[in-house]
């Protein structure tokens, strides 16, 4: 039986792994660090982790190759990608790669890190439950998946193409449940340009932690959902229909949609 740990941090920069270890340690989590991917794989043989934090730009194996290796070995631990080279491509890839549940750009504050870790832990758990719930003797679903024809950016946000060339975007039920309740949203303004993989709204939990919602499609905001603005709980109750966030005019749907899963 493998030893159970909470978090494995992989980064070639020791100051980063140490800082993460310190912050998470203070929260009572068991943290193991690794300086590169092979060391991490070795540690994964020894212990079982609830979450992996992994840098993208590393010598030897980079973050995405590491994810492939995990999939190859059948390790299903949820992974949060982090990078100092926070291009849009890296962000989108991090959210759509197999096994990655979230993405955090460097540098981050302790609170931001903890928010993402907590959310990702719950997200992993919900995914696990959903998998076991899909077995015949299971009970209710742990979260509501995206309806058909909805494009999904990782487990974070969705986009629905509309007939007139516009698109609605919103946040997934899984994200909202992992965030454990939202008190308030901070929206972008109509007329603003949004970029795929870049924050488009912030959701604030009752405990004050801010959850950044990454945008699934690039485009210009045409309309902010007034219902969601005046009544944030609408988003939680009906995230896929009445609880949409923005109606946008996509600027580059063809190439954006390649990254999204149906």
């Amino acid at each position: 039986m493998k030893q159970l740990q909470d978090i494995l941090v992989i980064d070639d920069e020791p100051t980063v792994t140490q800082a993460v270890a310190k912050i998470c340690g203070a929260e009572g989590m068991l943290v193991t660090t690794a300086g590169e991917a092979f060391e991490a794989l070795k540690k994964l043989e020894e212990c079982k982790f609830r979450l992996i934090l992994c840098d993208i730009m590393m010598p030897e194996l980079n973050g995405f190759q590491f994810l492939e290796e995990l999939a190859h070995r059948g390790i299903r631990t949820p992974v949060v990608m982090m990078t100092g080279y926070s291009t849009v491509e890296n962000a989108v890839r991090s959210l759509t790669a197999t096994g990655a549940v979230d993405y955090i750009p460097k540098p981050f504050t302790a609170d931001e890190l903890l928010t993402v870790i907590q959310r990702s832990l719950r997200c992993g758990k919900l995914l696990d439950e959903a998998e076991s719930a899909s077995l015949p003797r299971s009970g209710a679903m742990s979260y509501v998946p995206c309806p058909v024809n909805y494009y999904r950016l990782g487990y974070v946000s969705w986009a629905l193409m509309e007939d007139k060339g516009t698109a609605k975007i919103g946040v997934t039920d899984l994200f909202l449940r992992a965030a454990e309740g939202i008190n308030e949203f901070e929206f972008a303004q109509p007329g603003e340009d949004l970029l795929q993989g870049v924050p488009c709204a912030e959701a604030i939990s009752p405990d004050g932690s801010k959850h950044i919602i990454m945008c699934p499609l690039s485009g210009r905001v045409l309309e902010v959902n007034a219902g969601a603005q005046s009544n944030p709980s609408l988003v939680e109750r009906d995230p896929y229909f009445r609880g949409w966030l923005y109606r946008i005019l996509p600027s580059n749907p063809a190439s954006d949609l390649q990254w999204l899963s149906l």
Partner: protein, 621 residues
Amino acid sequence: MLNSKIGLKLTFGAVLSILVVIGVFAYFNIQSENKTLLMEVERHATQFSEHLKSDMGYDMLHNDRVRIQDSISRIGNQGAIDGIRVFNKAGEVIYSSIPREIGKMVTMEATSCYRCHLTGEPMKSLQKQEHMRIFRPAPDGPRLLGIINPVYNEPSCWTAACHEHPETQTVLGVLDVTMPLTKVDENIRRNQIAIVALAASVMIILSVIIGFLVRWWIDRPVRDLLKATREVAGGNLNYRVEVKREDELGMLAKSFNSMTDKLAEARLQLFQSDKLASLGKLAAGVAHEINNPLTAVLTNSSYLLKRSQGQPETSDDLQVIVSETIRCREIVKSLLDFARQTVPKKRKADINEIIQRAATVIENQLSVNQVELVMDLDTALPNVTVDANQIQQVFINLMVNASDAIGAQGGTIKVISKAISLGPAGTLQIKRALCRKRHDLIDRKVQIDSKPAISMRYRKKKQTGIIHLNPMYGSIDHNLGDMPALGKGVDLMCPDCSASLIAEGQTCPKCGSPVYAFEVPLKGLVQGCLRDGCGWQRWEHADSAWNDEYVEVRVIDDGCGIPKSQLPKLFEPFTTTKGQKGTGLGLAVTWGIVDNHNGTISVESEEGAGTTFIIRIPVGA
């Protein structure tokens, strides 16, 4: 050689045509001259022959053969006569100036006979032309003109005492006079030489003139253009062809110049974007390298901040570290954004608050340098929609620059904020302009600040030319070319119809100079002062309809100032006045941020006295 020079080809073609024309002319001229000379000689010879015949008539009647022979010998041996002979009906030479010929018989084929005896029956009379024959007895001798004069039977002949000739005889004999054509031939030759010489000299003179004109009108401008294309191809985009004329080649030179201008402009832009691209690469590289250490700082400081709640002293300090590290994060991100040229994250914000936040950040640095920061902030400032982090970055950059300009000896930085309404001057472009006869004055070929200029023709006495006005309403950087100083007699006109553009009886309210006026369709008259550098313009339609609210912030220092030469490229990346101390990115990033907010940033500076940066951000945006 002929293939390679257009001027030479043209000259050759022209000379060839002249050669043909003058050659044909000379040929016909010589022909007609020859004919005239020969006719003159023939007339003279006929007269002479008639004269001789009548002269000898008396002696013939008396059958005084000795006298006749004597006369013939005497006359025939004059220089102008070759020979005189008289044939009888049988063809026997009965008299001759050459004694050895007397008594000789000639056949009907002889030169003096064959004309009449061409056909079997001898002709009784001959046309005048047929009396004449021109022949050359010896191949190298002179040409001879022979004239035959038949001696007809007359009543006095058959009634004469000698009864020599019966009445039935028609022609008694023939008087044949031959004259050498030496003199005539010589004249003809001299004439030919003269005409050929004349033709040749006309040809040479015309060729020289044509050659010169071709060289002046075509060869030189083409050579100038060729030289210019080589220069431009070699990369010298500042090379200009001198435009001397208004013909097609002049226009070509003009369009060549404007093409080169555009090329230079495009290259500049390319250069700028190239610089921006390398800035982007640099930023991306820097971002990765800096973000790791920043992560350590940010995580540790924020962790410490979390744990130091309840200890106000440390927690305040830590708060500064955390918020400043977050600002660093935004700077790095904005560098990447700047390279990507994405839009800022805008929220409604109070500019004064942002200024104050920026001031707290650099307070320490300022006090170390003994720089006093004076703020004069308008409390009634409207909120503007901005990315607060980016705008804070702008103010920090400007204040740090101001502090650097002041140096260690101390000084004052003044920050003034106020709400202003900006008129259309400097923000509105005149896109259409018409003269009184409704000709378009906008010249799309000439651009000032890459906007089509307004063109006008000036005239003073004989001097005339085109000037171009900046189409931005209220600007002063017009291109007045070599327009003469204003005063009496300077007229401004429409380049198309020469209708005057001077507003009669009006003067500039600022400086009293003459005023021009043109019409903007549907938007009334635009008037402006003509004096270089005055810049007064009035456009009532725009002045009344246009008023935009801006928040203006001035950052004023009393430091060393910026050299005039540096001002035009101050906001370009990698421009620095700080030598090794500066990266040359600060103002480029600042400019990018303000531009992304649809704002403007401008600078006024006097070396040794100080610098003022003026930022204007639209309230409505």
